[in-house]
Amino acid sequence: MKKPGLVGRILAADSAASMLALIAVFVIFSSVNGRFLTGLNIHGIIVSAAISAITGLGMTLIIAMRALDLSVGSIMGFSAIIAAELLAFGWPLWLVIVAGMLVGCGLGLVNGLLIVLLRLPSFIATLATLSMILGGQLLITQGETVPIHNAVFGSLAIGTIGGYLPLAAIIAALIFAVVWVVFHRTPFGRHVAAIGGDVRAAIGAGINVNRVTLGAFTLVGLLAALSGMMVAAELQNADSTIGAGAELTAIAVVVVGGTSLAGGRGNLFGTVCAAVLLASIKAGLNVANVSSLYEDLVFGGILIVALMVDGLRRGNRRRGMLVV
């Protein structure tokens, strides 16, 4: 059989949909409006994409394990609030960031323990913690906004190196590299994929499913905490609206990136593409003076079209059967 050429290989890749959509969005927006490709706008896209990519990379692992984490949005907000409160107490910056990430790890571990010990489905366990952590946020802040008066913390999101390279991009690239190595080059990553592929087979192969589950949920908690703190750094304050609804956006980003909810596979590069796509749509509509009410319409439309193209592309499916 003839090997497919470069174009064929790109089209067959799981991340093809998000890459093509990304290119299309860039071409359309930059041809419609000259202000789309300015440095400031690109910088905004990179920061916003980095934040959603970091949570999305963690979610990719969870989805590859055929689980879901609905609590990432709440974890984002909670750790952002903790970080803001600790900064107000006068803790040193590095300690605040470490503490915020540890809080995320702890909350992720709680998710894992609920799943492993009580044998709750991940969907239910994290739905419960979504609500509980949100309650915790509101009880800490009493519904108020916690201001952040720390310029160095702010640079976590909006800072640049040499005036060009955004710090957020470097953080996201670092996280991508770490998660990629963990997923593709360690036993832990292989076990995550094995559990997602067939949990019975994974148990039969001697994989400690409980330990891998705990590890994966702790990791996604940590990543969510990091992106939550980056949102707070960008806004220069923290309140309970940070991360609200972010769990579904994160799942959407992962799915647009070509990772199937059926588990067993994860497409980390696709997730990053989809995160950049989402950020570009927002920035592009903003530059074109289109109301932000249209953002979800465009992103949701791309999600549906990408999934339908994917469903039809896989072809030769039995007539009348469903994909669940």
Binding site: R66, A128, S131, L307, M308, L322
Partner: protein, 333 residues
Amino acid sequence: MRETARGVAARLREVRIRRERSGVWILNVVILVLLAFAAPNFYTLGNIAAVLNDAAILGIGAAGMTVLIIAGAFDLSVTAIMGLAPIVALTVAGDASGLAIVLVSVLTGAALGLVNGLVITRGRVAPFVATLGTLFVFGSIGAIISNGNALPVTNGLILLLGTGAVFDAIPYSFLIMLGVCGLCYVLLRRLHMGRWVRAAGSNLRAAHVSGIDLHLVYLGIFILSGALTGLAGIILTGYLASAVATQAPNYNLNAIAAVVVGGTSLFGGEGTLLGTMLASWLFAVVNNGLILLGVNSYWQYLATGVILVLALALGLLGMGGTLWRRPAAPARE
């Protein structure tokens, strides 16, 4: 005579508390007893009516979600339909009679459900992600039509639907919820459709091989869920006296929580409407009770999560499981 006795015995067994629902029963009893001591003013006619109204708005949508989850599907877009359907109804039929507004809202919900169903069956997309996409799309359309504003409601019938009650004790919304439950009960237990729904949920491939028209089943239940959500949406609009695209935040997750707390398995195939209704009532009781106790309203988020975990853990015990035993593997979504 013997036969009759056996029949009665069988009937009694059916009525007995189903074990997978034990969690929601236990929590209901415990919390209602606690409230009798902690907040006696819970047991006033007006307050019970308010709780029933809250429970009904969640319960109507959750009834549709129960049917979907039994069939092995989810609908995440109900949050958006709750806002979009009343907005369309008020925009199209705002000056018409109240009945016309309700009808348009229900039909809009059904049409949006049809869109979901078509994306899932014709587009070959899994329900969870398909409705995740339409959640964004429908939500955005609702915001665009209303320009992000609240549409005021002046129609008397709609306001009455959201706030009125028979004898000041039984809200109209609660009566509607009973009707909806009856409808869903007949669908699940008395029609062929119910068997197809359960067959699809317990083993999709086997259902397909045995000749069940899965596309028809899925289209049907998504239209049903959409229509019921449109109905719940217009009732909520009457309650709030305005329609906003984001009027029911987290309705999707709350409805799923109610279904699961009620003892329906997330893995599909089997489930109970009564459990879902008890769970909707439980959530409404807890929110109301916390307000009566004068507790900061932020505690209700915490309480929702705790109930979810407790009800499932208790239900697990009720089904003969043990907690804390080292499990072979965590439950899979």
